[in-house]
Symmetry: C2
Subunit: 204 residues, 2 copies
């Protein structure tokens, strides 16, 4: 990791401070492990800096992230009860987004994903949070449930200093082009290759 000294200083007329506070759009993609885990590690750091953190999970099998959800709930309570760190919200698509009262649309994943993105776009316009994790958001993009061009335009036009991290395999090229930070996780070796199942505290 570069330690403090940028490789080149761009001729963009910005002061170091202005450039430093530029909001980051990060994408964690590739077939390897750690895409979501690194995003939650970044969210932990953002929480510690007092940022308002919001996580949006776009894949139904939410049981795989219960560890993170529970840990961030504890961090959120530290904020509300003791004023430590930032606020935390955790939303998941599983059984209808938490902000909607609608039920019965559980099986229409495409509609639910579109609804989730519409809510995020509205929150970005309102500068509702400081740090957004759009977990496994590449899949609804890949499957055409959410329009990539609208996502890229909305992200590039977002006001203020809002940071966004998007995770998932096969990130679309237009999203990669728009991102400031892209990391590809390559799987070199995985215990499930040796027939192990996931275990609590390690896999979820």
């Amino acid at each position: 990791m570069p330690q403090g000294q940028p490789i080149a200083v761009p001729d963009d007329g910005l002061t170091t401070r202005a450039r430093r506070n530029t909001p980051v759009l990060a994408v964690h993609t590739g077939p390897g492990k750690g895409k979501s885990t690194a995003a939650f590690g970044m969210a932990l750091r953002a929480w510690n800096a007092g940022m308002s953190v919001a996580v949006f999970q776009f894949v139904k099998s939410a049981k795989w992230k219960v560890g993170e959800e529970s840990a961030f709930a504890a961090l959120g309570r530290l904020n509300t009860e003791q004023g430590i760190g930032g606020a935390v919200e955790w939303h998941k698509m599983g059984s209808g987004w938490s902000w909607t009262r609608k039920t019965g649309s559980d099986d229409d994943h495409a509609a639910a994903a579109a609804e989730g993105w519409a809510e995020i776009a509205a929150r970005l316009a309102d500068q509702r949070h400081d740090f957004y994790v759009l977990d496994e958001f590449t899949y609804p993009l890949k499957w055409g449930w959410v329009d990539v061009d609208h996502v890229v335009e909305t992200l590039l036009a977002r006001p203020g200093g809002q940071h966004v991290v998007i995770t998932g395999r096969d990130a679309p090229q237009r999203l990669i082009d728009a991102a400031d930070l892209v990391t590809e996780m390559e799987c070199v070796k995985h215990p499930m290759d040796a027939g192990r199942k996931g275990q609590r505290g390690i896999e979820w």
Copy 2:
């Protein structure tokens, strides 16, 4: 990510439960971002599962991880004060390891790294923690400050169900061979390439 079903079930005579509880040795390597961040994300999940977490930072410029250290301190207090999650210890090489009273050896990084590894080996033998993060530990291995063979033998022979995650570029091949889970982080695009400096809550 594989979701629950292993690719093949090994003919190792173990029950699923026994295999499931096999301790994991993970290595996060490669030139990209997210190696440490993903390790801390795993530690967060382990903490949530009630595991005793210990972090050992092997690089002097500890200012880059203050966000994680502070967040894990808050999680550790949640454990001691409210019984939530697991215990947390955070040790860094910066100005002498916290368990030693020795001073003046700050400039002998090789000796400090060897001392850090000796302490970790002793703790592994004692089954002192459930989840160890050896952050940037590949560098003392690469520089010959700590013997790779001793590390690999000690890790492979560690008793009980202790999980270990090692981060850093250029992980030695013997360590990769010994690991259960190896992820290579590839840097596709980095904001410092565009002349940005790191910023609080994002980079540290």
